[in-house]
């Protein structure tokens, strides 16, 4: 009996120590979290290395640039395929970063939306802001995908073919339908319109979506859809909030990349994913465009650097760096407004917008405002100045596609260099990149 008591006593001592509740609840790594607070969600949406990066392929398929044999030799296979419009940008490992990164961004947006929906406690300004940001990113992601992997809206809107996986939840193992062009665009518009009701006019940081950025993005989407009335409404709504322009005369041209970083014109900061080719001296500016700048036009001074071979390279990124800008800025909004005003018949007002912008782009006192009463001529002027202002910004692809529907502004493209050649006539084909082959390996493509 004595022994039994001893045993019990020892057992008591032993077991007594183990009653530490919560001992196993400590998180294993300081920097690792299960994101569930509003701060966590903001930090995820602030991850600009993912959220504010856009596809380089938008630019690669455009006619903003030229290249010669050494430039072609420098291209990675998939970039070469994009440059010569081969219709696919696959890589041997099956990883198409340009496609994946956008869907990763959409995952974060879905995740944020789902987490925010768990906060049941009434309305909160912070929660609304975050919800608006997430919706913006979701729409932004799908819009880039639509530009790359779907035919132009006007050619594709009546096609009833599923093309892009349209995800609506973060969960991985759900079957996802392939959405048609019209479906994707209506989803984009819906998200952006909802975001408008949630976001503050301006964000604390230019890397965060805001109401002005959402109007700006929506005006781009409207342009892509050929809805110039709405594009005008949104561009003006954005300009109503932010319309400050830099005076290019105050920018010091000595620096290689002279445009100030996060300057006041930027409505939403976005960067094209950078590859060695994106800042290569082999990446040459479209010579036709380059030749067209007036010598008093400061864009010529600030945007370009003549390399040692005497050829122009683009160094006028709004990112103030070698990284190419793809965000939304006031100059783009003004140009959109000008174009849409003219299309709406308000030629004079449209020209006023254009001249207001160009005034700040020329050497002080030297700019002679454009004047015309012909809406066709006005459009020609505005569209050409749009090219000259938004060069290397990734918006050219969007313009090429939408303008291919207007014979007077359409131009077939062709390229030949380094033993490779390619042609693209957007008016003839409903051109779009193929969904990566790897995606098609999954049954039903969208799983």
């Amino acid at each position: 009996m004595n022994q039994f008591i001893k045993v019990l006593f020892v057992l008591y001592c032993f077991v007594g120590i183990s009653g530490c509740e919560g001992f196993l609840d400590e998180k294993p790594s300081k920097s690792l979290v299960v994101p569930d607070t509003l701060e966590d969600i903001q930090a995820l949406l602030d991850g600009d290395a993912l959220m504010n990066i856009d596809a380089f392929t938008l630019f690669l398929q455009s006619d903003d640039f030229e290249l010669e044999a050494p430039g072609v030799a420098q291209l990675i296979d998939w970039q070469r395929n994009a440059v010569f419009w081969k219709g696919e940008i696959d890589s041997p490992t099956g990883v198409t970063a340009e496609y994946f990164n956008i869907y990763r961004k959409i995952f974060v947006a879905h995740f944020a939306i789902e987490e925010l929906e768990k906060f049941s406690t009434g309305k909160s300004q912070i929660k609304d802001d975050l919800m608006g940001q997430a919706l913006f990113y979701r729409a932004y992601g799908y819009f880039t995908l639509a530009q790359l992997f779907m035919p132009d809206y006007s050619k594709g809107k009546d096609m009833d073919v599923g093309i892009l996986p349209l995800r609506s939840v973060s969960q991985l193992d759900v079957a996802v339908p392939l959405a048609a062009v019209s479906q994707i665009y209506s989803e984009i518009v819906k998200n952006l319109e909802q975001a408008l009701t949630l976001l503050p006019d301006k964000a604390k940081y230019q890397t965060r979506p805001s109401k002005v950025a959402t109007h700006g993005l929506l005006s781009r989407v409207n342009l892509a859809m050929g809805d110039y009335d709405k594009a005008l409404v949104n561009a003006l709504a954005a300009l109503n909030i932010q319309s400050e322009l830099m005076d290019y005369n105050s920018i010091d041209p000595v620096n290689t990349y002279p445009i100030p970083f996060l300057n006041e014109e930027i409505v939403f900061n976005g960067i094209q994913s950078a590859y060695s080719f994106s800042f290569s001296t082999n990446l040459l500016v479209n010579s036709e465009i380059y030749q067209s700048y007036d010598s008093m036009d400061l864009r010529k001074v600030l945007y370009f650097t003549i390399n040692r071979d005497g050829l122009p390279n683009f160094t006028g990124s709004y990112n103030g760096n070698f990284e190419l800008f793809s965000g939304i800025a006031v100059d783009e909004l003004i140009l959109t407004a000008a174009e849409c005003l003219v299309r709406a018949g308000e030629v004079q007002k449209g020209m006023e917008y254009l001249n207001r912008l160009l005034e700040t782009r020329w050497v002080t006192g030297s700019f002679v405002p454009f004047e015309t009463s012909s809406s066709q001529e006005a459009l020609e002027i505005i569209l050409f100045e749009r090219r000259k202002s938004l060069l290397f910004r990734s918006t050219r692809w969007l313009d090429l596609r939408r303008l291919s529907n207007e014979p007077s502004f359409h131009k077939p493209m062709a390229r030949e260099a380094g033993g490779f050649s390619g042609k693209l006539d957007l008016s003839q084909t409903a051109y779009a990149l193929k969904i990566p082959a790897r995606e098609l390996d999954f049954e039903g493509a969208g799983q």
């Binding site: 790594s29 690792l32 990763r104 001296t281 103030g320 995606e439």
Partner: protein, 1058 residues
């Protein structure tokens, strides 16, 4: 619930069979004649009967005698059998047994980290590495000493650095693949380099369920138990001293087959002429270009004539940077090791004290590391041995000093001119840029990189202090029943001070990069003059506590019950902080602050950049609670049954609470056939059959049931100092632990006089619910998804034979093992796309094939027209590489065979004569394949110094008959490269036999020359990494070491025992 669980466990184990007997009793202690240590487990039999007993763990026996006069037979493996006649007047009989042979005198006791089990009672699969084998090799580290002496254990020489060792194959895919390392009863948290091999008494490798399930969820990859030296009871005061020096050759920089330097110069010229370097030449970043390109550019610009350029280029062809590296930067490395050990024991106290010092010079001049180890261990036995106390301190300090970084340059750069004066070479920027900026801005710091001037400049020191404190208390509550508490505190502190003085290129470069000139040409330095100090500190603390009850009972009929049970709790926290100081003056201890958030314009490219601040913090916490129990029941000396169970819980990230714990268990049985009365096979007087079955576990702490994200913050991000989070893993709510089912069948045998002994074990390991990746559409935002998607099955055997072939004046001993391991994936919920079969990890799960398989694209030769590599597209030879790669399926890929040895083993012969002892270890690895490297044209086209196969490339029609190296394409083609580099034609057989090492020693015995000064003195020499004796492939490289060859080394040492 916990209480109930534990209680039930203890009570269940405490059942004592009661057997009554009427007679007189004899008792006593059995000790070893050699050192008076008590011998547990000695069989005590009444002659001519089956009645008998076995001594308990303190060497005591107690036996009831019913006959008036009897003779007791004391027998014990490795000792001479002794017979003692009884008469009723003697009831206390102490016996001492003489060892059979000095060499075989050690009773093999296997440590599991929880208890020590004599080999004869172990049902599981253990490999014991005794002191002699531990000390056979000469090395700074301890784990190397297991290599080629441990059946079933292999060192993986290529691939995953976190899987240096595999025990019986790999039973996991992505989870932790390292065996658990236990040092003195607790899992070791520190770096294994901190264990001084001289402090190690023995090692035990636990391979199967019974052996390892006591370690539960961490035992899936096997367990290596390291036991440090202890004084033995009754041992007199001893001093031993061991010293050795190892010299290893310089690395062979020409080992990797590379193209000719002259070919590279020609290539650079060709690419230059094609304009491929234009982008770099013109780049705003002013990158360095190859010297040949600079020369050709000068010629193009008319600064030098074409013939001058040609002449310079010819000159480049005879240079080789590797020769300069070999001459100025490399040296033979020298490792010195000294170890002093003092031990002894008194009536109640045993102690051991050891001091070790290792000093190693690196293969790079000016770099070295050293290690000091100090250990002290005390054991007390009080209250008539009922109370045991122990305390140990293990302190290690290791220092790593780096003064020199290896020089970097083009292969035809040179470090000196003809007179041997140091030369500058281009490091980051083009010569043109450096020349012009130097001429323009005299007030910049010297921006040249002179490799020879960099030697010895750095002052990088890292110091690790590692402290382990052990305490244990055990109390025998009543005979056989013991309570024990063990506690370990571990603390590891690492401080790294990397000081780069201003003279180093790194600092001069950074300061110049952030130098600005205003309109007036005035210089502003954004980084102050002075050195750069990168300082980081790290600290780890762990507390481990184990409470254990053990019960041991020898019944009067000679049956034995052993049981242990208890629980363990552990908390490990660690953190790391890093900081960079600029303008550091080591003399005065001053530094200045910089502005890390403002974007400055870098001088060389005028691009905005922030000063790299290198500020970081990390912290981790691991927590475990485990419950364990283990019991064995032995029926006389013939049958032994054992069972164990363990449950582990941890704070693994985001694992649903109810899935945190995993119960694992094992059962086992042993049958000593030779103890049967009917056993008459004299040639094999010892024969034992054993079997175990059960589950081990494993976990992957990188997966989680929830979506996880990692925070970061940086002054250089777009919005400085804005906290940013990035998604790390997608949610997986159904995640479970990995389980490994183990079956082990073993046969132990020993011949007459112990001349031949051995073990044969057959096993099957089935990994169940292993964590695997399935690919998911990229539209999910992920490429793959990790979950319990796989099963594997491993079957194999380990044969271990030890033979004393000649046992006369000359002794010849042979130790041999042969391990066979065949792995197979038996379930994988997804068929991976073919591109995954060529990943660098070598892991490519495919049902029916090993985890590590070597695959290749089927090869259709080179196209005779253009030298393009051809594969098959729809069964027809084709050079549409994109088509081939996208249309191929895992079924149509060529499967060569396993990527890891299926057979491996070693043969160790030891010949001794008088004081001399010679031993040599030959190891072999068979039945596997590897993919050799070849030339990548994507690299060639950027002007990279590539593989030697470039010289054997197809150049003209007909070459396809003699070579399989494709022609050079004009533009990079990733698909063509990927096809060739992963094609079947590059697969080689890995089978080989190597002479691993040779050891020669001479021992003086006490009776020898200088009587009294020592008990034993031995001189030894050890030669390691001798080389390959035979290999199956014609490929010139060592199949197991395809990037660098292990360096041959020779060691001399002395071991002195007082």
């Amino acid at each position: 619930m916990k209480i109930f669980y534990t209680l039930l466990l203890y009570l269940g184990l405490a059942i004592t069979p009661l057997i009554a007997q009427t007679s007189y009793t004899v008792s006593g202690v059995v000790t070893s004649e050699q050192d008076n240590t008590t011998l547990p487990g000695v069989s005590v039999l009444i002659k001519g009967s089956t009645t008998g007993t076995v001594t308990d763990e303190t060497g005591r026996y107690k036996l009831s005698i019913t006959t008036e006069s009897a003779t007791l037979v004391f027998s014990y493996l490795g000792f001479t059998t002794k017979e003692v006649s009884l008469n009723s007047s003697r009831s206390e009989i102490d016996v001492s047994l003489a060892p059979l042979d000095m060499e075989l005198s050690q009773v093999e006791v296997l440590a599991t980290g929880y208890q020590e089990i004599p080999r004869e009672r172990a049902n599981g699969s253990f490999v014991g590495i005794d002191k002699e084998l531990v000390n056979r090799r000469v090395s700074t580290g301890i784990l190397e000493r297991l290599e080629d002496v441990t059946p079933g254990l292999i060192f993986n020489r290529e691939g995953d650095e976190f899987e240096a060792i595999s025990i019986r194959g790999r039973s996991t895919i992505y989870a932790n693949a390292q065996p658990l390392i236990v040092v003195d009863n607790f899992p070791y948290d520190g770096p294994i380099e901190n264990i001084n091999p001289n402090d190690v008494e023995s090692m035990t490798v636990l391979k199967d369920a019974a052996a390892a399930s006591i370690w539960g969820a961490r035992a899936g990859n096997g367990v290596i138990v390291i036991t440090t030296k202890r004084a033995k009871a009754g041992q007199s005061f001893r001093v031993s001293f061991n010293a050795n020096t190892t010299v290893a050759e310089k690395p062979d920089l020409f080992y990797n087959p590379k193209m000719e330097v002259s070919s590279l110069v020609d290539l650079h010229r060709e690419l230059f002429e094609r304009g491929n370097f234009n982008s770099n030449i013109n780049s705003n970043n002013k990158p360095r270009v190859a010297p040949a390109v600079e020369v050709l550019l000068k010629a193009r610009n008319g600064e030098i004539s074409q013939s001058e350029a040609d002449q310079l280029l010819e000159g480049f062809k005879s240079r080789d940077f590797r020769n300069d590296l070999d001459r100025y930067f490399y040296q033979p490395s020298v490792n010195q090791q000294y170890a002093l050990n003092l031990s002894g024991s008194g009536n109640v106290h045993q102690y051991n004290f050891a001091l070790g010092y290792d000093a190693n010079s690196s293969e790079v001049v000016g770099n070295s590391n050293n290690r000091i180890t100090l250990t002290q261990n005390n054991q007390w036995k009080l209250l008539e041995n009922r109370l045991e106390l122990g305390a140990g301190i293990y302190w290690v300090q290791s220092n790593n000093n780096t003064t020199t970084d290896l020089a970097q340059g083009w292969i035809y750069d040179r470090m000196t001119d003809e007179e041997g004066n140091p030369l500058a070479i281009s490091r980051s920027y083009s010569d043109r840029y450096i020349n012009s900026i130097e001429a323009e801005r005299a007030d910049l710091l010297n921006w040249r990189y002179v490799p020879l001037d960099e030697i010895g400049l750095l002052d990088n020191r890292s110091r690790t202090n590692d402290l382990r404190l052990n305490a244990n208390i055990g109390y025998q509550l009543f005979p056989g029943f013991k309570a024990e508490v063990r506690y370990q505190y571990w603390n590891n502190q690492v401080e790294t001070r990397n000081h780069s003085p201003q003279e180093t290129f790194f600092v001069r470069d950074l300061i110049n990069q952030f130098s600005e000139f205003d309109q007036a040409g005035l210089l502003t330095r954004r980084i102050p003059l002075g050195g750069i100090l990168d300082h980081s500190t790290g600290r780890g603390d762990s507390h481990s506590l184990r409470a254990m009850l053990s019960y041991e009972k020898l019944t009067k009929t000679g049956n034995r019950i052993n049981a242990i049970g208890g629980y363990e709790i552990k908390s490990l926290t660690s953190y790391q902080d890093a900081m960079r100081y600029f303008g550091y003056d080591d003399q005065l201890g001053l530094s200045s602050a910089v502005d890390p958030t403002t974007r400055f314009r870098r001088l060389y490219n005028n691009a905005l950049a922030t000063i790299p601040a290198n500020q970081s913090h990390r912290g981790n916490t691991d927590r475990f609670i485990s419950y364990f129990a283990n019991a064995s029941y032995q029926i006389d000396t013939r049958f032994n049954f054992s069972a164990s169970t363990r449950k582990d819980q941890s704070n693994l990230f985001g694992v649903n609470a109810n899935q945190r714990g995993v119960p694992l268990w094992s059962i086992g049985g042993g049958y000593t056939i030779s103890e049967e009365k009917w056993y008459r096979f004299d040639a094999l007087p010892y024969l034992r059959l054993r079997m175990t079955y059960g589950y081990n576990g494993n976990f992957d702490n990188r997966v989680s049931a929830f979506t996880t994200a990692r925070y970061s913050i940086s002054p250089s991000s777009t919005i400085p100092n804005l906290p940013i989070a990035a998604i790390m893993s997608p949610p997986n709510p159904n995640l479970g632990w990995e389980k490994i089912r183990n079956i082990n069948l073993g046969l132990d045998f020993g011949s007459k006089n112990g001349k031949i002994s051995g073990t044969f074990e057959f096993y099957q390991k089935n990994g169940e619910d292993l964590i695997g990746d399935i690919e998911v559409p990229a539209s999910t935002g992920f490429f793959n998804f990790r979950g319990n998607f796989a099963n594997t099955s491993t079957v194999g055997y380990d044969l271990n034979l030890n033979a004393l072939i000649i046992d006369k004046g000359v002794k010849w001993r042979t130790d041999f093992f042969w391990s066979f391991v065949k792995e197979k994936v038996t379930r994988y919920d997804f068929t991976l796309p073919p591109a995954n079969f060529f990943n660098t990890s070598g892991i490519n799960p495919y049902v029916g094939r090993p985890l590590f398989g070597v695959y290749g694209y089927p090869w259709a030769g080179l196209n005779p027209e253009n030298g393009n590599p051809m594969g098959f597209l729809d069964g027809i030879p084709s050079e549409d590489h994109r088509g081939i790669l996208t249309s191929i399926t895992p079924e149509t890929l060529h499967y060569a065979g396993p990527g890891r040895p299926v057979h491996f083993g070693s043969l160790r012969n030891t010949v001794s004569w008088k004081g001399f002892e010679f031993s040599a270890n030959i190891s072999f690895r068979l039945g596997y394949y590897y993919r050799r490297s070849s030339v990548s044209y994507n690299n060639i086209l950027t002007g990279t110094f590539e593989h030697a196969d470039y010289e054997r490339r197809w150049r003209e029609m007909g070459d396809e008959m003699v070579t399989s190296v494709p022609s050079m394409p004009s533009v990079p083609n990733s698909f063509r490269d990927a096809f060739y580099l992963n094609s079947e034609v590059l697969i080689e057989k890995g089978d080989h036999i190597r002479l691993q090492d040779i050891r020669l020693a001479y021992s003086f015995q006490e009776s020898g020359l200088a009587g009294g000064i020592f008990r034993n003195l031995s001189l030894y020499s050890y030669v390691n990494n001798l080389g390959i004796l035979w290999k199956a492939t014609k490929d010139e490289l060592d199949p197991d070491f395809r990037t660098t060859l292990p360096k041959r080394s020779i060691a001399f040492g002395v071991n002195w025992n007082f």
